[in-house]
């Protein structure tokens, strides 16, 4: 590294790149498609999918460029610090995103529900009783059963917690310079994440078929599926990140003291983990 450092500018600034603007175009196509899709307009789903695929291709190329720069030693310690700051604040913004949904759950449950059932509201909803998991005061929602913590959510908790451990083992291995071990434990982490997703899919199926619990099941169904679904989406993203990192580990991109891509993905994974713990308590237990 240090031999190269002399050639490296004080702070590397990439030259012109066509990826950002292309990503913008792809996103426009995606969103136009999505707006059409939710309104059942013909060909809009196709448009949306094309947009997403385009976006993926562009991102692939873009990250390819970045990896290339990283590999050719353009990134010095200062840039590494930049990555650390940016990843931290990105995760913070995700925390706030989840906070909006957790807040919605809290508000609906602890403020709106008692309101709807109080004495004044008897003129609108004479027989509404405030217990969480109700089918809404209007009685227009089919009855459903609510989700408890057993067995799937608890298994999933164990899975995610374990994945946190395997990831840490992998990180230690990386720092010790054992590439094989790093890859192995990293692969285990991805696998645990994938298993989590399978279980969640099974849980959703059960919810729809056995519990009659749907996205349309009033505020309970709404918050349940939005919170767990949004989390599941993040697990998927995290797993993809880790897979890319795994690929790069196998390619030998990382050194024991220079592997921020690994660490960033790991931070993200731990964040997803912590959110799950919150969900596990708030959605399934309380």
């Amino acid at each position: 590294m240090s031999a190269q450092q002399a050639n490296v500018p004080y702070y590397f600034v990439p030259g012109p790149s066509k990826w950002p603007v292309l990503a913008g175009v792809a996103l426009l196509v995606t969103m136009l498609g999505a707006a059409g899709w939710v309104n059942s307009i013909a060909l809009a789903p196709e448009l949306c999918v094309i947009g997403i695929l385009g976006l993926l291709v562009v991102l692939y190329k873009w990250f390819g460029d970045a990896i290339h720069e990283s590999e050719s030693g353009m990134y010095n310690a200062r840039i590494d610090t930049s990555f650390r700051w940016s990843m931290s604040w990105f995760i913070f913004s995700e925390v706030m995103f989840f906070a909006a949904f957790f807040g919605a759950l809290f508000y609906a449950r602890s403020i709106s529900m008692p309101w709807l059932a109080d004495l004044d509201h008897k003129i609108l909803w004479p027989d509404f009783a405030a217990h969480w998991g109700n089918a809404g005061p209007a009685g227009t929602i089919e009855t459903f059963r609510t989700m408890g913590p057993f067995p799937i959510p608890t298994i999933n908790t164990a899975l995610l917690l374990t994945s946190g451990v395997t990831l840490t083992i992998s990180h230690h291995a990386l720092r010790a310079g054992h590439r094989g071990k790093t890859a192995l434990w990293l692969a285990a982490t991805v696998l645990l994440g994938a298993t989590f997703m399978c279980f969640q899919a099974a849980e959703y199926m059960e919810a729809y078929q056995e519990y009659n619990l749907r996205l349309t099941s009033g505020i309970y169904g709404s918050t349940f599926f939005l919170l767990t679904g949004f989390h599941g989406f993040h697990v998927t993203i995290g797993a993809i990140m880790l897979s890319v990192v795994l690929y790069r580990v196998l390619k030998g991109h990382f050194t024991p003291d220079n592997h921020f891509a690994f660490e960033g993905a790991a931070w993200y994974w731990h964040f997803v983990d912590v959110v799950w713990l919150g969900l596990y308590v708030v959605v399934y237990w309380l």
């Binding site: 603007v21 426009l28 919605a104 508000y107 089918a135 349309t216 939005l226």
Partner: protein, 538 residues
Amino acid sequence: MSTTAVDHVHDHSHDHHDHHDDHAHDVPTGWRRWLFATNHKDIGTLYLWFSFTMLLSGGVLAMLIRAELFEPGLQFFKPEFFNQLTTMHGIIMVFGAIMPAFVGFANWMIPLQIGASDMAFARMNNFSFWLLPPAAILLLTSFLVPGGATAAGWTLYAPLSTQMGPGMDMAIFAMHIMGASSIMGSINIVTTVLNMRAPGMTLMKMPMFCWTWLITAYLLIAVMPVLAGAITMTLTDRHFGTSFFNAAGGGDPVMYQHIFWFFGHPEVYIMILPAFGIISQIIPAFARKQLFGYASMVYATASIAILSFIVWAHHMFTTGMPVTAQLFFMYATLLIAVPTGVKIFNWIATMWRGSMTFETPMLFAVGFIFVFTMGGFTGLILAVTPIDIQMQDTYYVVAHFHYVLVAGSLFGLFGGYYYWSPKWTGFMYNETRGKIHFWASLITFNITFFPMHFLGLAGMPRRIADYPAQFTDFNMLASIGAFGFGLSQLYFLFFVVIPSIKGGVKAPAKPWDGAEGLEWTIPSPAPFHTFEVPPTVK
């Protein structure tokens, strides 16, 4: 700000071919330069042009609103279309004009002010920009789809928002994209400020503009995701049968308002703090005296930002909150007057016993302080719950927020433009014309929005296409003022901005003798690459 004496400044306009290789140093040309830009100055320019275009689009909508409101009765538009105009005017101005304009300033000035070679993530910077035109396209084309653009107000209150046509979905997706853009832009700014300051540039030596933007960026990172969450729930309520904001299923329309305003109130400070920063640069420069109370300015800005998270429900006093909540939000809101006052007083103390001249930037800065304070006072009056209950959703509120947004944010932006444009274009703007622009704007602004206080006090509701005939006189006056204000901005574009890009008196490196800071140590126009070797700040 304490002194930013520069130890030694490298001249970067030539011979730096010895310490780099990989990146192209020749200035890219043609359309590629703009589409593929990774240079903070180019991206800043893109942002500024984009936001000015949006200001004109939002302004045209405002002119249509004022035309319809010139007289009682429905003259030009059906009420449903009028509501689209109001809504899109608000959305375009807030998300398309004011916010990106400040990001443009940040892009141009932050690296120059802290002695950095560029933004921390140059490509992502370009992406943040290139997300905006798609969002604008979604917004503007939504007028053309069946049912037209969203007409639920810029606040998109549920459940009215569930009644809208596909235009609503386009607006939701546009706001998602703009939110992503803001978050990326903010992360970029935070990282740049924290990690790329030149040696010796400690945080407490940083120019105020960088400070205000640092704090603004935190606000953005914290609240844009919350907005995204709120409108995502609107989307699922509309199309996937959820009941977040529907009482029948156990949800609550008021919950939307809480989530929205948790974003919305910090949002209004997002639109004013960078303007505070600009003013804090201009006043010392033209008073030829250091900014008074630099440290307390920093603390005041931070206090405003922190307080902004606990006042949101002052927009919801009429929704029927428990009395304790009403009192809490009233007290918290009133408190914001204290740090804001500190800022005003410090500016005046800076002017006190200075050696002042009044070029256009200074005029806008003084105009800003004067008129913004009026808007701040009406805000304070609105913060008092019983009074707000009388005025909520009337034109008094419209008057309040145009005083802080137009005479605040927009005047701040104009001031910043006059202050820094010599550095951007290399030419001095025409001083007389700048002054004409200032006086025309100031006067017509007040003709437009001052009468709205009376309308609001008398009870005229917002967002109506037609009004009781007693309100006619003040509405006519406001409309006339509005057309004048609009023409003043056209004057700004054609007689100030465009000529000063094309040519004129060459600007020296430091056109203002009282100005301080690294940006004035480089030539005008700023060369394509600056501070590739960081200067050392003592």
